[in-house]
Structures are given as C-alpha cells and as structure tokens.
Symmetry: D2
C-alpha cells in the first residue's frame, strides 16, 4: 500500500516535522505541500533541512490542492481546520494537528478559545485507555496538544490505578518551536537564550482543559490540573514534571508496578530503570516518551516526569502513529525511536 | 570605612561572583584570594572576566592567608567551612556561602549531608521575617542556598499571611553554574545544551529541608515542600514556580495585597505589575528577585513565580547584602540592581 | 558636573544598553527616554532588566522630548539620525549609535546604504591613532559599528607598525542582539539555537567599508578587507578572527612587542598573556576588548583575535567612553571593565 | 547481505553516533559494543537516546570482543587504533574514526601528534578526486577529521579547477561534541553557553596538515592552510568559512559553474541555490554537506562556506558511507540526508 499524503501548513514547524517524519515512512508518497502566506516559495528556502523536498513549491492551502490524497495532515493555525476539512471527502483520512477538534466540552472550548466549538474527533493518543480502539478505521483524527501528550502519558497510569488524588500539579518546560514560526519579540533568540520564563500561569493556558479532560476520563472522576508552562532556551523538547498527592497506602513498589504494567506493551513510551531520569535530548527527533516516577514520602506526593519531543511525539510523530493505527498499518511503521543526541 | 576582605574558594563560580560583586563595592578592598587545587595560578587564567584582579595569584586556603581581614567570604565545598572558620578570630566577619551552617535541625543535616551537624549561624536572607535583626552585628553568617533563596522569597508572604495550606509544591529551573565548576559528564556543554532534565526528584535534594525550615518558621506550623529542581540550558538563573492550595476565602485581590505589603519596602525583591511574569534574563548579574503571583480558581491554588540569578541574589549578592546589614552599612551599598539583558 | 542625558530609541537593544551603562555613571541623570512604535509604554514592560527605570514612560522620539539635555544618545534605525540631530541645538552633545555619520566616502555610503550621504562626524573609537584628539570637545560623535570596533582594535597595531600586507581576512561571530529587536524569522530562538550561519558574504556587509576606512587610515595605504560575519547561538558578544600575510622579516617577538606597545596604555583594550585566547563570555557587559595575536609560520600569516561585547564596547560602552572624552571627564568614568561570567 | 558490525568506543560521542547511524542501516546487525572505563555498564545509562540498544552491556575493547564481525568501527582516543586493528583479521573491514591513519607524511604526523607514524589507510572521503576508487574493496579505512571533511568538500572544486591561489584561509566553528565526552573545565555548559572562543590558533590544530594534504593532492601543488577553529555554543555542527585569492580572470559565473560540475553527482554534498547560505541546523543528524560559494570582487577572494554535522558527515555518517563504498553497497544505503530542524 502506497499512500498519497498531503501536508497543509508545510512551511511551519509542525508541518515541517510532519514532512520530516513522513520522509522516513516506507508506505508514504508525499503529494501536495501547501502554505498560507508562503505559497509560491521553494520549500528548500523555508525548510532547508528537508533536502529531498527542497525543490517542491508550496501551493495555496485550498481544497483543490489537497484533493486526491489518501491522507491529509493539517498543520494550520487554530480555527482554520474545520473549513479546510469540510472541503475534503469522507474517504480521506484527515489528521488535524491543531486544537479545533480536541475538546469534548463546548463550554471549555469557548472559554479558552473564544470561538464556537467545532466538535470532537477521535483523539490521537493511542496509549490512553480506549483510544486505540476509537482510532482504528477513523477518517478524522485530532492530534493532542504537545503538553497534554506529555502530561497524559505521565499521569494516566497513576489515575487508572487510582493511586493519586484528583488534583494534579504540572509544571512543564518547552522548547521554543512549540510557539511556532511566526516572529514575535519574546521568541527572538536574544530573548530566549539565557532565560527561563513562565506563561499562561494560573490555569489560563489552552492545554489545561485538554489535560483535565484526559485525566478525568481515565480517573472516572473530575481531575483538576494546576498547569504552568515555561519557555526554556532550546528549540525542541518538553519536560513535564507532574505530581499529585498519593492516596493512602500507596508504596513506591506499588507505584512502580502500576507504571510497569501500564507501559510495558507500549512501543513508544518507556519507563526508565529506577534512578534514571528523563532528559529531553534523549528523545530529540524521536516518537518516544521517557517516563520516570517516584514517591516523595515526606511530602506525600507521587512525582512523575515525562520527556518528549514536542514536534515529534508531541505533534508529527504522534500524528503519523495515529495514521498507522487508523489505517491498520503496524503502529510503529516508519517512526523514529532513536533520539538525536548529544 | 574601608573593609579588607578575603575570598576563599576564589577560583570557583561562587567565589568568582563574590569577587565580581565586591569589585563594585565602594567600601571594600580585596585582600587575599585563595583556592584549593588551583592555588598558585593567576586569577586571570581562571576567571578572565575579573580583569582588575587578573594578576592576582591564588594562595592556599589556610588560616595564614585569611588572617588580618575584616571580612572573609567562604565559597568552599560543603563540609570545609567549619574548619576554616575555626581558624579565624571572633572579630572577623565570616560569611559562609556553603551549606554547613544553614540548618537548625541536626537530624535534617545528617539525613541530607551524612556528616555531623556543625551548628547554625544567623541566616543571610534579610527579607525573611526576623532575619534582619539577627544579622545586625553578627560575626558569622550562613548564606542561604540558591533555591531556598528564591523559594522563600516567593512563598513567605503567602505563609506569613496564612493564605495557603502548609503543603507547597516547588518546581524550579536552574542554570548550570549552580552545579559548580568541577567537570562532570552531565555538566558538559554537549549534554546540557538543547536539553532539560530533573534531578534530586522525590524530596532528595539537599535544599529541601532548608526551604521547609524557612517556611515552617514563617507559617508557625510545619510546612512540607515537594521540590523538583531541573537543569536547563543556561549558565545563570533560577526560576522557581511555587504553588500551594489556597485557604478558603482567599481572593486574587487579597493575595496581591498581601504580597504588595510584604515586599513594598524591600529594595531587592520586586512584585511585578499584574500580568507581567518574571524571566531570569532580567535579573542576570543583579541582586534582584522578581516575583509574580496568581490565583488559579479552577485548581484552587496560589501560584508564585520568582526569578533570581543563582550566583548573585542566590549566593554572592545575598552574601554581600548580609555583610552590609551585619556591619551597619546601607543594605544596598555597592549591590547591582540592574540586570544584564538581553 | 551632573549631565542631563536623553536616549532616543530606548526600547531597542542598543538604547537599552546605553541606559544600562548610564545607570552606572556617577555624573549622569537620565532624562527623556523615547521610542518609535513603543512610545507610551512603561519601560519596565520592554526592558525589565532596567529596574531603576521601570516606571518611566517612553515618549515619542521628537525634538520636543529631546530638548533641554546636555547629551542625547541616538539609537535609531539607520537613516533616521540626521533628521533628529538637526532638531537639536549645537550646544548639545549628540552621540549617534547608528551608521549615518561613520563613513568618510560618499560613494561607499551610497553603495552600501543606498541613500544620500549625510556626512561624517568625529569617530568614537578613541583607541585609533588620532581619534582621541578629534573627540575632545566634539559636539557630534559617530559611534563605530560593532564589527569595525572589534576588527579595528585587533588590526590597527599591525597596520600601524606595517607588519602585515594590506589585504585583511576577517571572519567574525556575533550574538543575535546585534541584529536588533525587530522580530524576523531567522532571528527566532528556534532558528538560532543550535545553529551557526554566515550572512553578508562576499563583501556585502555594511560594516566592510568602515573597517577598510579605518585600517586604510592607519596603514597609510589602501587596505582591503574580506569580511564574513556569522550569527551564532548567543545573545551578546563578538569574536573577530582577523589575519593578514606577514611582511617579510616579521617575527613572533616583534609582533608581540608592537601589540604590547600599542595597547599598554589603553584602559579598555587588553593584550592577553601569551597562550591565553579571548572568549566573549569574559567581556560580557564590559567595555573591554581582549586581544591575542599569533604568527603562523607555516601559513605566513599574522592572526589576531578580538573579543568584545557588541552592545557594550561595541555600541553603548564605546559611546559613553566617547562622551567622557568629548566632555573632558576621565575616560573610564562609570564604565564597567569586569565581565559577567559564567 | 546482513553485516555483523562491532563498535569500539561506543560510550563516546563518535561511537554513539556510529551506532545511531547503523541503527538505520538495513543491512547491518549490531554486534559487540565496547568501551574503556565504561565497560560493564548498560549502554542505556550512557547513551539514553539509543533506545533500541538500551539493554546492551558494554564489553571491554579487546580482540576477543571484536572478533567475528564483518565490520569493526573504531571510535577510540588517538593512538589506540593501530594496536586494536592489529588484533583483527585481514578479512575484517576496519574503519578507524581516529586520526592514526589519516596522514601520508610521517614528519607531519610526528610534529602534530608526537608519536611514531602508524601509516596511512585509504581515506574515507569518497567525494575527493580519486578517493572512491581507492575505497572500493578496501579492508582498512581512515575516516577524515571533522574539520578536514568540511574544508576539503568546500575547497576541492576550486583547487581542482585551479581557480584560487594555493594559500587558503579557513575559519571554522564547531559544536562542543567535537571535543568529546571526557569532562574538562572549558567544555562545561557554564563555560560554553553564551561564549565563542578560538583554539589551536596559529596553525597548531592537528587537522591543519590533513587539510593541507588533501588540498595539495587536488591542486597538484603545495597548498598552505591558515586554520582557526572556534568553539561555539551548540552541541553539533561545523561551519567552515574558507577563502583564497581568486586567480586572474576568475568570474562569479565561472566559479559557480566549477562548483556545479564538481558537486552535481554527489548524493551528500549540495551546492545551495544562489543567495542561500548554509546553516548547521539544516544538516543536524544528516550525512549532508551544504555548500555555497561567492566571489568578493573588492577583496579579490573566493569565499566558500560549508556546513556539516561534525558527528554525522564529519565522522559516523562519513564512516558508514565509506563502508558502503568499500563493500559495494549503494553508497547512500541507510544514510540520513534529512536534517533535524529546528
């Protein structure tokens, strides 16, 4: 099976990473690559690392350019996916890397995004309980946000086993590519190098309700998330440090056992050996999540750390993994598991 | 008054920063600069940024070299300060940048450091309730750890005003200089650039009991701290993201008022205008702490973020500030408040 | 003497650094701070490191705001200085950090900048032969470009002593702050971290004729410069690696002697001890240039390396140094010589 | 054909990269992985990015461990390869990533390395004129140094076409991984972040004679190289900026034509479209060299810039490319050409 695949938003970081991952997929032939303001340019001028595609010319993102593909990846600014998807036939697998179809709750959507709710598509985090089954055969997939990917993978085993209280505290660091390629003063190299700063503090980041939604579904009771993301001086990577109060009777051994059981069959999510903690460099460019867990007896909390590459497992790799699941291909087909380090 | 000041451990990062700050102090004359293995070398070969001292030669760290000074700063590996201080007269002001005399509780010390407890000296964080008074006239001062400086400044107003529950969750990022200048594989540039990683997870970092001690004293009841530090790709700076459950009835306005009141007379600790969050670059090289606070109503938590330079306010600047207080000089004398950015 | 000083362009990197340096100058009182599009904002929102000026509000850059000051620093986009300066009285010392008045040759200006030549002002690099005398009492000063500062300091001793051929090859690395604060895609943190790239290759960078002008004046014969600048992943700093063919008979000892002689009385330019090479970190935030020189006998070339901070000695520090000279103040007054490292 | 391949020195950066590249090679089965002081450890503890090999245990680097493989890669400290290679049969393809067998001239070797010359093996830079032919069927291969790879690829077309004078000036920037994984003070993150510094100035770097050897062979006359390498704040990548005086009559068009012709059939070396300059990020993790060339008419010099990843095309990728050539496999088999960016 050779799939003809289009990528909309190919000049941005997410779209570029989708292309990078697809270049390594043995069943994919890359068709249209489209953009907004950058349409008409050589891809090589904007994404010089995608050497095999350097001479491709970006087309406009419209139904005509995207027609005739088996799979279309959307890597568009939030709010644009619904209209583009509407122009694509039902037989086309549409995978949206944006936020538009992630949230179940319309009120959540409206509070955080300020526009009407577009609906919800099958959620592209196969590792979550129940998610894989929903993805098989799906023709529309919502790729999770990068932070929710890391945080959900870190905490779902604890909530699935009812080991922690339903109040999670998440502090995460992200590389600057998560903020996209549109130039803004606070994203200048001069500003980010040598500096760490928080944003979206106090529960205002748009990924907060998505995390709460995922953990609530796993826990079977409402889970709140206190979420504080930080911009750190690196291009790629998310490190999410998550904690919650341990339920009475939880032991370090029981905790480890629950994580081992929950993750042992996952090809992309690895519980590290005891004592080894994740670093983002180890998963750079890989569709891998590294996880470690500890019990802090003095504070009475379970602490879980997850490292992913925000662009790979956090976006493009996760998207291609979901494509594989949806189409009945081997889930790991064409996906990098080895990171680029140092 | 011209003070003759010696610095022991002048080839390391903490000692170098003490010298850098002292070079800007109008009442200080720099006397002996000493080192361990680096004794005998030109300071300019090891600390080329300290241009006015480039031709100084490092002496051995011993009582003879350190004798005859009004003030002696110790920037030595943990466990070495007690012996050196014992060789200095009681009339000498000894300011220890190491951990040896920070903890009140001998059991805490022994659990975290594994050696006999040396005692406790007046604690060099003048902003803490009661600390300034204890420092005036003191002849022995323990400089706080860099993380406890940031975290105590961030949280003391909330605990002093009883606004939060006594279980704090602290996640902090530090630049690599906090780990010192002794070469270790995980501190290589190749390892730290492009990567974020946690360490001391699960309550095992040595600064944990120091934070708990400070907040417990302020709160008047036992406060636990779940502390997770992270190494991020920058040389200097600490960003501490601290949270705790809001007590019933706490409002955003009440919170802001408490912080405004607690910090308004502090020359080095600044509550930022609403909506502006601290970045470490803004305090680079300055004896400044920038603070912001928010209430997350959905999660029911107070979130406080503090940014300091780990070497300046977190070590050397705080040490010189305490020297000023101890000697009755203006507290701000010779201390930088302007950061180096970008 | 207390000078009332205004800074036009105070929201940018050069203007911010002028303010940072001026905050440490004992004879300066900071008056108007002005901006273009950022007028009306609190300085603290844009330059949070300039804590003592945080509550200042940026005024529009016009003659009214800038009137009534003893000294006005212009840190404006190229081409705007002439008009602003025309509105300032002749008794006002106007120091232009832009390029407008650096080049002697109108044809050079027009070829590289594409606009009519505005003229030439006394050149603010006091270390160049003859420059100091021209600056004393001057009321208009053109601050050199950052690269020409580094390169001229590196090579003038060799050309003054006729030790090298008049064809210089200069390859330089600069931090991103040299490119300013206006957001552009290639200056995003995501693009610059982890990457080195050249620009202005083949003699097209605007600083090329300025270097050639300076070295030609020193050499007394036309000197060509092959100049290739590079953007590297750091915020501040220039490292210029300069070489030229050694003239017959030149020895390592003779070379060192020429440099020692040329630089020994300079307060801000230091020839390092033999075997020690400059690093930009050592001059971060300082008005210092570090120089080292070597003879490569196999290649027959003299190699000189200079490190400066592009914003300090390369712009704002050099500007204040020239102000001191012009006004008859001690040349080093209020200027930092100690760098911020690590 | 499935090749059984061993890697000696697998805990270092070069050895780790050889493994990373081999993991993507369809005809390779990874056999023994060996180390010096790190023998006995899990590979996952030292190279956590090599997830598929995490549970491998490092063996001692000795003849026994390395026996029975079709190919053995040596990534050892300089001077150790000859002894190890001597213990391997003549039927084994031995590919040495160290310097031991690169130089033809024993006097050069002794002057720069201070030990007896071990000899010269076929040189693993297939793009150099004549090199491919020598590699076919070879059983011993010397992988070029990382700088000589970049510089030889940049300049060989100009020397092959006799367009430039035989005095090259090369200034290069390298990421810190080129300096290896052994902890040294100047390689600490605190030292390299925010700083650029030169080393090996004045023709003393060991890669200098290797560059001169390659260019001399291509030019057919002695070529001297003035080489100045710099350490810059990134983990990976080399950017080499090379120039030489243009021979009379050389035009921009002629220059471009020569480069187009020389490189158009090379699968891994790409001349960029006019006006686009190489950045190291674009080749991160790829076995790709990006080249651009310009004529500076005012300075009369040809300027060529090459970007490679020092660990991939500069070491491990080049090594595997040479393995493919030696064994008659397709030269590009299993080698990444797409970079990881941003």
């Amino acid at each position: 099976m050779t799939l003809r695949v289009a990528v909309a938003g190919a000049s941005g970081y997410a779209g570029g990473e989708v292309l990078r991952v697809l270049l390594g997929h043995p069943e994919v032939e890359i068709g249209a690559v489209t953009a907004g303001a950058n349409a008409g340019q050589r891809l090589g001028a904007l994404q010089p690392h995608l050497l095999p595609l350097a001479d491709r010319v970006l087309q406009d993102t419209d139904a005509e350019a995207l027609a005739g593909h088996d799979v279309v990846f959307l890597a568009l600014p939030h709010g644009q996916s619904a209209a583009v998807a509407a122009g694509l036939g039902e037989e086309t697998l549409v995978i949206d890397c944006g936020a538009d179809f992630r949230l179940r709750d319309a009120a959540d959507w409206e509070r955080f995004y300020g526009t009407p709710h577009a609906g919800r598509w099958p959620y592209g985090l196969p590792e979550l309980p129940g998610a894989r089954a929903e993805l098989v055969g799906a023709k529309r997939i919502a790729v999770p946000g990068c932070f929710p990917t890391a945080v959900s993978l870190a905490l779902f085993p604890a909530y699935a086993a009812a080991l922690v209280e339903p109040e999670a505290v998440v502090v995460a660091a992200t590389g600057t590519s998560g903020a996209g390629k549109t130039p803004k003063p606070h994203l200048l190299g001069s500003e980010v190098m040598g500096s760490v700063s928080p944003y979206g503090v106090g529960g205002t980041h748009r990924h907060t309700p998505e995390m709460a939604q995922n953990l609530t579904e796993v826990a079977g009771e409402p889970v709140t998330v206190s979420f504080t993301p930080h911009l750190v001086p690196m291009s790629r990577g998310i490190l999410a440090t998550c904690s919650a109060k341990a339920r009475p009777g939880v032991t370090a051994a029981g905790l480890r056992e629950a994580y081992t059981k929950a993750l042992r069959d996952e090809p992309f999510v690895h519980l590290l050996p005891e004592g080894q903690w994740p670093a983002t460099a180890a998963v750079q460019g890989a569709n891998t999540a590294l996880i470690q867990v500890a019990l802090d007896p003095a504070a009475g909390r379970v602490v879980v750390v997850a490292a992913i590459d925000n662009l790979t497992k956090g976006t493009a790799g996760g998207a291609v993994q979901s494509m594989n699941v949806a189409l009945g291909l081997p889930e790991t087909l064409g996906l990098p598991v080895t990171g680029l380090a140092p």
